[in-house]
Symmetry: C2
Subunit: 644 residues, 2 copies
């Protein structure tokens, strides 16, 4: 393992993933933990493997839940093996391998329910999506354990897919309705060096939107929808307002796409693959497309928390500046995908804006998706929520104000798990003789540059304090550059080397670059000023007009009912007032912030509408990190606060 | 005709209905005016009558569009006959009568498209709804013209329905999926004195929710939905979050219903019939149910504009205090139905709260539904709207920010027409020796009390000024009581009789009652103070927290982009500041109001979120009557304004 996390902040989450989330998910997936909707995921494989009797149950993409769990297991094992956990995983992998057909095909839904209808409904039925997740799981499990049983199965499945799909005559000219396999195949190519996987991935990307496959497939199966089980008018069942092809991003060829549209998770999974492909093939034009899409998302369609997807209708992007705070979707998975897209871009070109978004999405949306007990999850991450409103109003009903124990469509929990578990992959990168530090997360790693190898120990006080220390250990001096990201939120920073101020540095694309011959015992101290401050949204975001959000460092803050009482929308914040920090020991310890404001209290009235009798009080508003919301019981929460 | 409208304010609308709306609708219904979706309503009848070739086209309830047009024609003709208009109506009535079957059955959809499936899908297919509208049209046309051709057809249809439905063995034990015929039959009973119609109406109300007819019917037709044309899981196709039986108010027997639920138009149409039935049969228990439902709506589920229906999902009520301003439905038809419910209650028991709501809904929502050209209509009446947002966001996309020329589902325009056309029915009532004035709308009418008859001439300056004058003309003095509603919005009023202050009066349930022997030449002057003032919503309406609405007299005011520029949500209003009136000649003349406030201007930024740099400016906000919004081009509008 080339990078260990050593961070009090993150160790808690890694421990949560290892000790709570992963075992809990295992319990769900094996139906050992009773659940409103039984998962049945492992049992489906057991039935397909012939070791259990029964019928398939669950969504058409149920297999992926299990694959994502294995991926998280593989990721977590990179920091340290665990016999019990490996045994559990190996047992399940045994079922998976046994369930696989001779020809490499593997999908329990089709094998058990519709064996004659394989590859007939790529648009809706997630076969390639599940295959992608198997591949990613296999790669991660191989990385974490060195075992290659699942990896071989993944190759057999990839080979089967490769025999079935492609531009050649006699093959299906299709591509997935839910993108995912594109990135997976690139990872498989990395591990195996097999160029067919690279080419297959490239085929899936290039064919998309370049033919009328989904329409033809739709006609071939008699216009039957998997979801309604009856004939429908259009291939996609529900997607308000935009042409249905936008939903799965096949409205135009991938290279021509400039705006992020449709289902947000599918979109960013695909963009991540495109970014990796661009790097892999040094394809500058494809990289340009990725840059455009990146700019479109982060410049016009992203929340301050790094979440995306403005509507539950299609779990989708809408349009530039359409970022409602109370009816949004902001799926946890979408931020996971956005982080992957960002990381692929960052590996292509070090620009701090990519790492800024990773930090934002990670600390706010991904962590917000997980409760502090590791067993409850948000799927939707609203920027404001009132329990009574979410309960009563259909347009806000998808917003849950309590993290749920599980979801029938359980995409988010394992996505949180694998993102946290593979945290190490987001922190550093090497480019030539330059070593990049993208994230300030305590960790140790071996760094190999052209001129030698050293060990870097990062100690960081983020997200609570702005100080990070870098210690170098090496037998011989290593000359090279260290590039430290200057976060977008930081207005003042200081750097000392062995206690002397560093003045000889350059700044490139948001990174402070120090060139030097690094010696054993060198200590860099990097201090980022981290004053709480108010943010304002671009005026074109109508929903945030006249409002401000409070941030400190990478953390977005919010007001919760637990601190401020109900009816939070009565509050106004004084953006000229001085925010004050306080340390709070509960919830694992956090800095809260108080800010002055006023409250215009309403009252319960005889009539719904009465002559205004407004009581104005000065108040001290208490804000907590957004990612911690809803860990103290159900209650209101707002992020964007009206300015007084 | 017993009551003529003589009001500069309302004459404009009556003229608009007579000269624009009715001819325009005639053009649409006869397909003479090209329309995105052709109406085909008249042609359906011509085909059914055998005078044209072709196929049925339109919604299953297309017939009702035509019936509602005839009803509006009948209503408008009460103020003065019109040969051309009558000729048009008579021609159409000719087709209707010819289309009717021997047995009285009449519904062009079923006759032309599914002749063997009559009465097999009451839940979805609106046969009884259309029948109800035919009856209402016939009654109105008879009242307006004295002609009884359509009335006879209506009786034949009602007889056919009566032979088909009822508690007796061998009859169908069903009731309508869309209530409407219940009230219509009571009107038909009024005109004809035929008790079978009263009993049939009573049957429809009492059977509702008392058996499992809709479920049985659903099974009998093989679970086929009219809307999806395929099998479905539940009788109703789409109705988020609440049990489907709530949608059509058959979840429990009608008499047990205490909360308004489901599709708002269906609900209030039914409540109106219940209220009339209660009066008709002196059914105190049923009246109690109506009072409960009234209290529930007006006390917990009604907007300040007198609109109802908080969600597009099912065009429905949601729950107490759930009154979003930007995603609501507030269908114009629902306010029309609410007015009818209120008026039936008012005739049962004079209480000013009923008349207050009529005034509120009429001046705000009904009039807001109609453009000043009489040819454009709102179906949804938001309390705030931003064109860009409604365009971009699926949860707000049902909110149109421009009145539409027509709707495929054209329920609202003719409902506006008939409400305005039958305005006279809302103004007065007589109870024993007491004569009630519910609305201050210039008009003349003959009043007959037990002790004699007089002519009352009301001159009113509402809604622009608070003064109304009542002149009495009579040959002999008439003793009796005059009851003047004291509007809820009025805090001070004065009454003079022949220029002397009246001190001898009582106040009963919101009415000021003067008992006297009324003489020819008596002049009462009634002045209602009408200062602009701010309203505040009950605290439990979360959406209005920290906000105020500006009203004056019966009118709700709003801010429009036309007066205040874009980004209205940046504004804060000073509720301690003094609102000032200004008279504006455009749009037919209106009082606008200016109020002091501030604006926290945003700006277009490099990044979506930047350090707050808020510019605070003092501003004078300009508010206009809500009903006039969107008559000066498309733009933002808000009703509830943040308090500063
Ligand atoms: Zn998810
Ligand atoms: Zn309508």
């Amino acid at each position: 393992m080339d990078c260990m996390i050593k961070s009090p902040f993150w160790d808690r989450y890694l421990k949560l993933v290892r000790e709570q989330l992963i075992p809990y998910q295992w319990g769900i997936l094996t139906d050992r933990i009773p659940c409103e909707t039984e998962s049945h995921a492992v049992r489906n494989f057991q039935i397909a493997a012939g070791v259990k009797e029964g019928e398939f149950s669950g969504f058409v993409f149920q297999d992926s839940d299990l694959y994502k769990w294995i991926e998280a297991v593989g990721d977590i094992l990179q920091y340290g093996r665990d016999e019990d956990l490996e045994q559990k995983a190996d047992e399940i992998i045994g079922y998976i391998v046994s369930a696989q057909q001779e020809d490499g095909y593997l999908n329990t839904y089709y094998q058990l329910k519709e064996p004659d209808r394989k590859w007939t409904n790529l648009l809706e039925c997630h076969e390639l999506y599940c295959a992608g997740h198997l591949i990613e799981a296999a790669v991660a499990y191989h990385k974490g354990t060195g075992k290659d049983g699942l990896l071989k199965a993944a190759c057999r499945l990839a080979d089967c897919v490769d025999r079935t799909f492609g531009p050649e005559e006699g093959k299906l000219h299709g591509y997935p309705g839910h993108q995912e396999i594109e990135l997976a195949l690139l990872k498989l190519y990395d591990v195996t060096g097999e160029e067919r996987y690279l080419n297959l991935s490239s085929y899936f990307l290039e064919a998309r939107g370049n033919n009328r496959f989904f329409e033809e497939e739709f006609e071939r199966r008699g216009r039957i929808s998997h979801w309604t089980r009856g004939q429908v008018d259009e291939p996609n069942r529900e997607y308000n307002q935009y042409p249905y092809a936008y939903y799965n991003q096949f409205h135009i060829p991938v290279r021509q796409q400039k705006k992020a549209v449709g289902h947000a998770v599918r979109a960013v999974y695909m963009y991540a693959a495109m970014a990796r492909m661009a790097g892999c093939c040094r394809d500058e034009k494809l990289l340009d497309t990725c840059r455009e899409l990146w700019k479109n998302i982060t410049g016009t369609q992203m929340y301050i928390t790094g979440s995306i997807g403005s509507t539950p209708s299609g779990e989708a992007f809408t349009r530039a500046y359409d970022l409602p705070n109370d009816t949004n979707y902001s799926e946890t998975c979408a931020s996971v995908g956005l982080i992957r897209f960002a990381m692929e871009m960052l590996l292509n070109e070090a620009d701090s804006s990519y790492a800024d978004v990773i930090e934002k999405a990670l600390y706010n949306t991904v962590l917000s998706g997980l409760s502090l007990d590791g067993r409850h999850f948000f799927y939707v991450n609203p920027l404001e929520a009132v329990p009574e409103v979410c309960e009563a109003n259909p347009e806000r009903h998808h917003v849950k104000t309590v993290r749920q124990a599980w979801y029938a469509c359980a995409c988010c929990p394992p996505n949180i798990a694998r993102t946290i578990a593979d945290l190490q992959s987001l922190i550093y990168s090497v480019d030539g003789e330059r070593f990049y530090v993208h994230q300030y997360i305590g960790s140790e790693r071996e760094v190999t540059l052209p001129s030698g190898t050293f060990r870097l120990i990062q100690e960081s006080e983020l997200p609570w304090k702005g100080r990070s220390v870098f210690r170098f250990e090496s037998e011989n001096p290593v000359s090279g550059e260290l590039a430290l990201r200057i976060p977008q939120w930081c207005v003042r920073y200081s750097l000392t080397m062995n206690q002397h101020s560093v003045t000889d540095f350059s700044v490139e694309r948001g990174y402070l670059v120090v060139k030097r011959e690094w010696k054993d015992g060198d200590v860099l101290e990097w201090v980022l000023e981290m004053e709480p401050s108010f943010c304002q949204a671009d005026q074109r975001i109508f929903y945030d007009a006249g409002k401000a959000a409070l941030i400190r460092g990478p953390l977005v803050y919010c007001l919760e009912e637990a601190d401020n009482g109900p009816y939070l929308h009565e509050c106004r914040v004084d953006v000229q007032g001085k925010p004050e920090l306080y340390w709070e020991e509960t919830l694992g310890g956090y800095y809260g912030i108080t800010v002055p404001g006023v409250r215009y209290s309403g009252r319960r009235q005889e009539c719904l509408y009465e002559k205004a009798f407004v009581e104005k009080q000065a108040v001290k508003l208490k804000a907590v990190p957004y990612f911690l919301w809803n860990n103290r019981g159900e209650g209101e929460m707002i992020t964007w606060i009206d300015i007084m």
